[in-house]
């Protein structure tokens, strides 16, 4: 399928949290609990997806080649950011090593980065698994003692 086929991509209608930070757009997909960071070109593509523009119009609006936009849309779909069915999306027509392009100074490429940090960054103290609260193999106890016969933390 050509990027100019008139396909109108749609963002995921719900379950998305977005935040602007230092010129980047951050997105959190609640269904998968995955977070992504869009650099400025990818963010321009993202902002141009309004449920009315087709790929060519998005490319013009984001000031990018339609082929790059097609690749970006495919990656957005893979990240769970779009509702548009995968088979409706234009095939990726860009086959360049992004790392190589960035190294060469071509930084105007849309990039979608997955964000992962250790859970410990948020989990603070032992607030679950206190003595008396339920436990099983999936819900362990702070004390390390699960009274398995009655299913509560010791």
């Amino acid at each position: 399928m050509s990027p100019s086929s008139g396909l109108v991509p749609r963002r995921r209608a719900s379950g998305l949290v977005s935040e602007e930070l230092d010129g980047e757009t951050l997105l959190y997909v609640e269904a998968s609990h995955k977070a992504f960071c869009l650099n400025a070109p990818a963010a321009r593509v993202w902002k141009s997806i309004d449920g009315a523009r087709d790929v060519e119009t998005i490319a013009r609006s984001a000031e990018l080649e339609p082929a790059l936009v097609a690749t970006t849309l495919r990656e957005m779909y893979d990240a769970g950011l779009l509702e548009t069915p995968a088979d409706a999306l234009p095939a990726s027509e860009v086959n360049l090593s992004r790392r190589r392009m960035i190294r060469a100074g071509l930084v105007a490429i849309p990039i979608i980065l997955a964000i992962t940090v250790p859970r410990a960054a948020e989990a603070a103290s032992c607030v679950t698994g206190l003595p008396g609260t339920p436990c099983d193999p999936a819900h362990r106890c702070c004390t390390g003692v699960c009274n398995e016969n009655i299913g509560t933390c010791g």
């Binding site: 977070a35 103290s125 008396g132 702070c142 390390g144 010791g154």
Partner: protein, 366 residues
């Protein structure tokens, strides 16, 4: 603590020194600092966002070893946006049930920082009256499991693990009404909140550097009419701990203590214990001691080692003085206490003598 541990702990303190202030001082790192370990410990201690803020305009920011800090900053910004949205949703459910809970720690602290990516929090800490616990459980049953898992609801009885000398009437009587969008809630009086935030971290051994930052940020956000006598009233031993932690926040992080605060000395063991926690972290879910056959000898020894009490929580739990004398006897006594407590509880559980003592929220909703 090895010399490398001291180096990392010192660098964490240097990084976080006045990191919440509009113009923090320039950071000077010691030569030979293992950057990857330093940034990993900052992130594990919840201070990755603060760490990134300190270095993002320096040449250090382009080093691959510190990429984790930038990632943490982004992640915290995003999760904070999500938490703020969901907090309104959660509180609306409570309001609809006729409840106006007190919101403490987490969000109440995060809003005092200059940017919401600087103070991550995973849970909504809520306090309801004992008589409201049933309705609070009903609310938790009705909301999505995802939100339910983030709502940590206490009563004054369960919060007594940190604030044993404050009654429900006192906490609610002094609390302040607040609103967010269309929802209503309350916040603890600053005197109670500061005491709670300090005692919470002492109770958990002070292993997170972010907790000491919280104390510093709270100290510098206190209202002009803050009642120090009220904050330090109650259990004298706990108040001694509060003063020691305030002094530690001043010494390590440059927190500005108001002149009205009675000055305390920071015991050497407290500084060392907190540094040790910052570097080595805390294993909140040690391997169960129930099935020793599964653990094997090495596993059992490790499970016992991670249960060795840290000096800070041992001092709090055993009500030992916060003075500058060795902690080994206190830790040994605390270890014995925990051992006996474990055996006693186990016998009572097995014989069905013990009633379940549970918090209102998180995982106890049938």
């Amino acid at each position: 603590m090895t010399s490398a541990d001291w180096l990392i702990a010192g660098a964490i303190a240097e990084t976080l020194r006045r990191s919440w202030a509009p113009r923090p001082p320039a950071v000077e790192f010691p030569a030979g600092l293992p950057l990857a370990v330093w940034s990993e410990r900052l992130v594990a201690g919840g201070a990755g966002g603060l760490g990134w803020l300190r270095i993002r305009d320096t040449e250090l920011a382009s080093r691959p070893e510190v990429e984790l800090l930038r990632t943490a900053f982004r992640h915290h910004a995003l999760t904070a946006a999500r938490q703020e949205r969901d907090l309104v949703h959660l509180l609306r459910h409570f309001n609809e049930a006729g409840l106006e809970p007190i919101l403490f720690k987490g969000w109440s602290l995060a809003r005092l920082y200059p940017h919401r990516a600087l103070r991550p929090f995973g849970d909504f800490d809520l306090l309801v009256r004992e008589e409201e616990a049933g309705r609070a459980r009903e609310v938790l049953r009705r909301i999505s499991p995802d939100l339910q898992a983030r709502a940590d609801v206490d009563t004054a009885r369960t919060l007594a693990r940190y604030l044993p000398d404050r009654t429900e009437g006192e906490l609610f009587g002094r609390s302040r009404p607040e609103a967010l969008a269309v929802v209503r809630f309350r916040t603890l009086a600053p005197e109670d909140h500061l005491r709670l935030v300090v005692l919470h971290q002492l109770h958990h051994g002070g292993w997170r550097p972010l907790w000491l930052c919280d104390v510093a940020v709270l100290l510098e956000s206190l209202p002009a009419d803050f009642d120090w006598e009220g904050c330090l009233a109650g259990d004298h031993h706990l108040s001694e701990g509060v003063l020691a932690a305030l002094a530690l926040a001043e010494e390590l992080l440059g927190a500005r203590l108001p002149p009205a605060v009675p000055r305390a000395e920071v015991p050497e063991w407290l500084r060392a214990a907190v540094f040790r926690g910052w570097v080595h972290g805390y294993e909140s879910m040690p391997p169960s001691l129930y099935d020793l056959r599964k653990l094997g000898v090495a596993g059992t020894l490790r499970a016992l080692r991670v249960r060795w009490p840290d000096p800070v929580s041992a001092t709090v739990h055993l009500r030992a003085p916060f003075g500058n004398f060795p902690r080994l006897p206190v830790q040994t006594a605390e270890c014995l206490r925990r051992g006996f407590d474990f055996i006693r509880r186990d016998i009572r559980w097995r014989t069905g003598l013990d009633a379940q003592v549970a918090t209102v929220g998180k995982g106890v909703v049938p």
